[in-house]
Symmetry: C2
Subunit: 544 residues, 2 copies
């Protein structure tokens, strides 16, 4: 078969990755676990390639790392080296990176250490914290391809604004991470660097579109990561990989310099936000470090709402959404929600059932607003290189139909979007519910290529609720999650419900997969949502 | 000539107005000043139709009225009756109303008085304040035609959200006011209730699109009014009529229930805001009364930024924009700016020249974004009734071309819009300028039908700066504003500059017209802008 010209171009993108890998930390092929080994979570320890100190460092949260550096117990250099080593292993096992930035990261760490030695102070609240970065977040002088072969030669002229703030706060960027073609899969596969795997079970997807970040967090290649989310792209990888993720309310975090196919489109606004391998606290640390720098002074479309400190309060009402009325969650998800309810009730938190409000309607509106132009820009980009559309790309492109909407059709949808958002908000108030605890996805991490149902996350994009994902502490259980007779007798409410229900023949397929949950607060209440998530997670995992 | 069916329908709209006029307060035709009399500002006093107390009441600001009612020196009923009487005269002289609400207003005033008698308290910060309301702001059970004959039968099912808040704060709505066909003239003329005149000189326009409000404020038919602004529609009428007006930053005031042709369009966001016959202080009173009720809790697309109290400070830098680089202001405007500069400098305020930044580019972007659909919705509405497009409607419809943009063309323009806004903001910061003092329009109130150049106001819509308009205290002067030899030798920079310059053959045409000025602050700094405007106006008018 002849090599197509797009393949030659894609190879350039792959070459950038290959060349960037710090070879000194590669695990010899013969020492790698067999491809058939599903979970590789223990490999860093088992392999002996990381020292105990490196293992300890990579087990720490960003908050803990900064505290240790502030006491002089840890250097930025040893921190970044430890995470780089782990990231190299992670990449060999999961194919999650698009480019390593080892030399620059170590050089920056040395600068930070020098600053600390000289002044006895940290440069900022993220001093020495390694952060992995989704590829479509521009880095000056580096390629930014956003998962398109056509953009393999595109060189960013400037750092994304978010990176400038994070860097000023002391963060170090050591690795860039993979994303799916079009950025519109809850999966992570493109024609340049290929497919990323889930560290808990390599037959499953890490989720997407920030799938490289999901893998990075799940394998602890960095304490913090940067993802973006227009329908679940931060939250789904966090949940699939047993990590933490936060989708802030729109117009709070700066998104200048995130390369997308259709810039200037605002029918549905994507957001950029953090993922964490360790804690909700780290997500708040990230948010505070950015918003304390007042990004609205540069990116003027942002709202001038400073980040405020919020103490978690037990005086709250949590509504549990067991099912969105469209697609039934798989048994592990329902079990995790039951577990959560029990723990919350025991802890004295007021818990009610949350009746979903027109989620099918919400999906119809948001899906139509993803591609009002029938994805013309995206089709152009594919045509430009000649690369084939991947199956989940084709799937996403069907969302808004095949003919462009007229401007006035789009405006009518926007009016529906705003009305739905207002109705949902009014409902939370009239029901007295402060936070909604819900599935992140119908199931745990999907089988590769099977992640088709977005609306457990996309619904909060259209309603624009700040939403955090955290691990419930449970993983798929071969006994507890077996299909019951009642399950086997379930009569789906329609085609989509049936399609999704069939994806759960039983727990075996999802061996080892963690169960993440999602908590959403009212619009703009990002700080309160993270505070509540901290409390709720603590109660669910530790009962306190 | 046969009567067209649209004329019959338009007549229904006019009949609503005619029937609503409280006949007991009409001035007999024979006592009205001759049609040829230009200024009718003194008619309320000269006519003897208002008592001295009524004249005194209608001379008061909203702030003063509320204070007097709080002391029991004034009832809401006598207040609203005084303003109603003045409004009826005003309507006979200026044709500014679309509907009077006399019975309801008096009934509401009695309720307020009863409340005060019973409790000794005011119901809220706008207790008993009569407010005139631009017609396209929906009132439950009443028609809402937005200046289109096609909508003469459209009955609103709910009050606009803004009216609910104002009413709760104690305001009384006593008259609805005229607007141009399409809402897109800086003039005030439609096929239903006709053309509104300027109280300072009835051969001139009161401006638009909130032209009925301009006349209402200029003739003191209400202490406060409600307008809307997507290119100057609050500020231009305020300036043309010697009144005050405020265009807040977008997404602060609630606009639910403002009827427009293309709802859901957000390429350029219009805003709703106050006009005042008396003071900047009243504009802030209005804003505070609304925002203290947290409208973002209902209209969730608004930003959750509470109104804050700001004390004016003299420690500020005011940049004066003498000319926008495209169209030269007429002599009265330049004289008012010179006067302003002199007073400000004398008062010790730091004043610099503001060099405009790419205003032609700004206009090209905003004008293309007004009608990305080539005004299809507006054309549909005209076709629906068969009413003819008025000349300034046709003029506005040319702004965005005659073929609809593709979605991606619109998105590219939106990206340009945001970039321009960011660049302008960065420039204000790097130049250290806090506020920009500028013309509101190339001239004073335009000759009827001649108001074509929008960009002294529209520029702040695209940059999204909060902007207040206030009277400079100067009016057109037959001597001081005569064309000089230098003026006569002015070589325009192009067609548009020439067209606008030719509209000033000399001061005679504009006899009696007031000169308004505009002051704009940085985005979101609405409170600071009104505080600065209070200070600047005081200095310019009284030297202190």
């Amino acid at each position: 078969m002849a090599i197509e010209s797009w393949e030659l171009k894609a190879q350039k993108g792959k070459d950038i990755l290959t060349k960037s890998i710090p070879k000194q930390w590669l695990c010899p092929d013969e020492q790698l676990p067999p491809v058939s080994q599903k979970s590789i979570l223990d490999f860093p320890r088992q392999s002996g390639l990381l020292s105990q100190r490196e293992l300890d460092i990579t087990d720490m949260s960003a908050t803990a790392l900064v505290a240790a550096m502030g006491k002089g117990e840890l250097s930025a250099e040893e921190t970044v080296v430890a995470f780089l080593k782990r990231a190299v292993l992670g990449h060999q096992l999961l194919n999650f990176a698009t480019e390593f930035l080892a030399d620059e990261a170590v050089a920056r760490a040395k600068e930070l250490d020098e600053y600390y030695r000289r002044t006895g102070k940290l440069v900022g609240p993220l001093h020495g914290v390694p952060i992995s970065v989704k590829e479509h977040v521009s880095m000056k002088g580096r390629t930014c391809n956003t998962g398109y072969v056509a953009w393999v030669d595109n060189i960013a002229t400037e750092d994304a604004l978010l990176l400038k703030y994070l860097s000023k706060a002391g963060a170090i960027f050591h690795v860039r991470t993979n994303q799916p073609q079009s950025l519109m899969h809850l999966c992570c596969s493109n024609n340049i660097t290929g497919t990323t795997l889930n560290p808990h079970n390599r037959t499953l997807t890490p989720g997407g579109s920030s799938g490289g970040e999901g893998a990075s967090m799940g394998f602890r290649c960095a304490p913090l990561g940067i993802g973006s989310d227009i329908g679940g792209s931060i939250r789904c990888p966090a949940a699939f990989c047993g990590a933490y993720g936060f989708r802030p309310t729109t117009l709070r975090n700066p998104s200048s310099g995130l390369k997308v196919a259709a810039s200037g489109q605002e029918t549905i606004r994507g957001v950029v936000g953090p993922l964490s391998s360790s804690s909700i606290e780290d997500l708040a640390l990230f948010q505070k470090a950015v918003l304390d720098q007042e990004p609205w002074e540069i990116e003027t479309s942002l709202v001038p709402v400073p980040w405020k400190s919020v103490t978690p309060t037990r005086d709250m009402v949590v509504g549990i959404m067991w099912d969105d009325g469209c697609v039934r969650p798989h048994p592990p998800i329902t079990r995790a929600l039951r577990h959560a309810k029990e723990k919350l009730v025991s802890a004295g938190i007021k818990v009610v059932d949350w009746e979903p409000y027109k989620h099918q309607h919400g999906w119809e509106v948001i899906s139509a607003l993803y591609y009002p132009d029938a994805a013309s820009k995206q089709h152009e980009l594919l045509a430009l290189s000649g690369e084939p559309a991947r199956p989940l790309t084709k799937w996403a492109f069907t969302y808004s139909g095949t003919t462009p909407q007229t401007q006035t059709e789009t405006w009518a949808l926007q009016a529906k979007r705003d009305k739905y958002q207002e109705e949902y908000h009014a409902l939370m108030k009239s029901r007295g519910v402060d936070f909604i605890l819900s599935p992140t996805y119908p199931g745990v991490a999907a089988v590769m290529g099977e992640s088709q149902y977005w609306n457990y996350t996309a619904i909060w994009n259209i309603v624009d609720l700040p939403s955090a994902v955290f691990p419930s502490g449970l993983t798929v259980d071969p006994v507890a999650d077996a299909l019951t007779e009642a399950d086997r007798g379930y009569v789906p409410r329609g085609e989509v419900d049936e399609r999704e229900w069939r994806k759960y023949p039983g727990p075996e397929v999802y061996e080892g997969a963690p169960v993440g949950l999602q908590i959403s607060g009212r619009r703009w209440r990002d700080e309160e949502t993270l505070a509540a998530a901290t409390l709720v997670e603590g109660i669910i995992r530790d009962g306190k």
